[in-house]
Amino acid sequence: MASAAAPPAAPNSLSLPPSQFARLQPHAYLLAHLSPPPAINQPSIRANGRAASQFRVTSANAGSLTHTNGSAVVRLGDTTAVCGVRAEILHTDDIASWSVSQSTNANKRRRLADSEKPTDESDDAEDEEDRAHVEDLNLLVPNISLSTGCAPGFIPSAPPSALAQSLSHQILSLLHTTRMVRAEDLRIWYQPPNLGPEELERHNEEEQMDVDAGQGLEEESKPAEIKAFWVLYIDIMLISLAGNPFDAAWAATLAALRDTKLPQAWWDIDNETIFCSDKVTESRKLSLRGLPIASSFCVFEADAAAGWRAVVIPDAEEQKALEKKGSQQKWILADPDGYEEGLSQERVCIVVDKEENGKGKTVVVKMEKHGGWTVDSDDLRQLVDVSASRWEEMKRILDQC
């Protein structure tokens, strides 16, 4: 970095090291890197030595924490996120409106069973129930903690900052919209035993019923009922923050959920509670829907006021057109570090997934852009392509961990 960096603005006689210049004139420093003068034959490169669409070196490691059902550490350059997933049990007795909502659901299911609709419609209904269970019962509880001393700005004892709250909420909404965790994985079913003979006996005592009617009842077994749900507490500690916390936190969440094992659980009628088996062989992993990967970008503008000037002073439009011919005015930087984040207003976050485990077409799961107006639809299309290639890279990393 040091050798590449002598910016043209600083004459050689003034012995200001590049690191000092970066602090005093951050905008000019980054601009000098991105648009080197044509005289010195250098490619446009970011101050951290990366190309504009290059992500930082990423590594992931799963399953190293003892007291979690699933855990992962993801390092994105100097940003480190640790995610631990803990599963606890929510009894349906503890859900206030359970009996009410359940009866309507049961009706719905019965209606479906009666009409024998084609499969796609029943799939829809199942999805709807999935969504209702996971979202309405709060079965996924992600929380990001930034008060770990990860960066100087955060006071450790303070309540979660606005950034932490916003990140937690973004993770939660992404978990919900991608419907990555299936509600079926989180349900604990109970099949009531068939008490046919006993009932029959009782019937016989009370009144002499004919045996045929009793056996008819016996054959129609009782429907299985949901006795409890697993609740996944997803806690993400950002140990080190050097820009782009969302990508790191989401990658850590994803890796931890892929690592999560839930024990076999059943309803014990004698104790009226849920018991779990501690055998690893009986536990099962979550079957996640898809693999959405987040990629964040920031936009660095050579002259941030240029766009505004065009509105306020109409004459400036021509000048702007002239400038545009000469030199590039904006750079879209992938995976910004802390220094670049401080210099840019406009952010783009794209979450993509690929169908059929990477062989199918790319699906944009989420697209978020805020803070400016320089990124147009063509740029966004390019960014989706960049995100798609990032998906391949991240899939490789996550498969290895």
């Binding site: 960066a151 100087p152 939660l172 055998k279």
Partner: protein, 317 residues
Amino acid sequence: MNDRRRVNGPPGGTRPPVYASLLQSGTGAGDRAQRQRQPTELRKIFLKTGLIPSASGSSYLEFEPSASLAAARANPKSLIPPSSALKLACTVHGPKPLPRSAAFSPNLVLTTHVKFAPFAARKRKGHVRDSSERDLGVHLETALRGAIIAERWPKSGLDITITILEAEDDRWWGDAPDSHDASWGMMNVLAGCISAASAAIADAHIDCLDLVSGGVAALVSDDSTESPSTAPKLMLDSDPAEHRSIVSACVVAYMPARDEITELWLKGDSSKASLAEGDERSGHEALIDGAVNAARGAHTVLAEAVRESLQKALGQS
């Protein structure tokens, strides 16, 4: 009490899973974790500095997993881990100017924060610091205050934050809590915090009298028969999950160069101890000496980590 700044779980609350194998065999299933080390043998410590570049100093500390945990990891059978190994990250921010509102201070103002991750222990921890975490913070502060030369930074503050990713157990998981029980795991955590914080302070190039390191020793009675003749034995760097009952434990923060103890925390009844023949020391003296020896052991690791950090700093400049 709903925390509106965080994502809350179901309003009715959730229950941790109950394993059926625990109920079937009364006091607990599976094999009790056994200490494989000699009484004076310490666990290996992994300590690395400078992993968090945005902080002025940082360190990461990890204890070697016990033999039972290593075996369980290599060949997983049960979902219940036999014991756990300490993992923590420490950051130092500062010295930085005190806020305008703060009163004048001729010395460096030290603040310490210790926080367990929610998934650090067997029981899920809350997001807000509880009293035990605050207590650890106070102990850590006293341990470090004796080592830092605070007069060199008037009107400035130093923030030390420790995040514990995995804590030590207080007892073997199969044991029911009983009268012998105290939070023994906390003492191991404190010893780790002291060593890690000391490395992070050195990494931040803050002047200290010496590297202060933490050590734990305990009097344990491992016999299942409660006969009065067998007095508890002295163990260095005791892992509470590996012992049937801990009678007394002691943690010290120790500076070898000055032979000085900056923090001493002794819990339990140390009146009875079976020491070597001809050893005239009383129980608590032996305990403190043991803890100091453990701290000396940790100091060698600490010195090595600080040397590494310094070499890296010299290489950069």
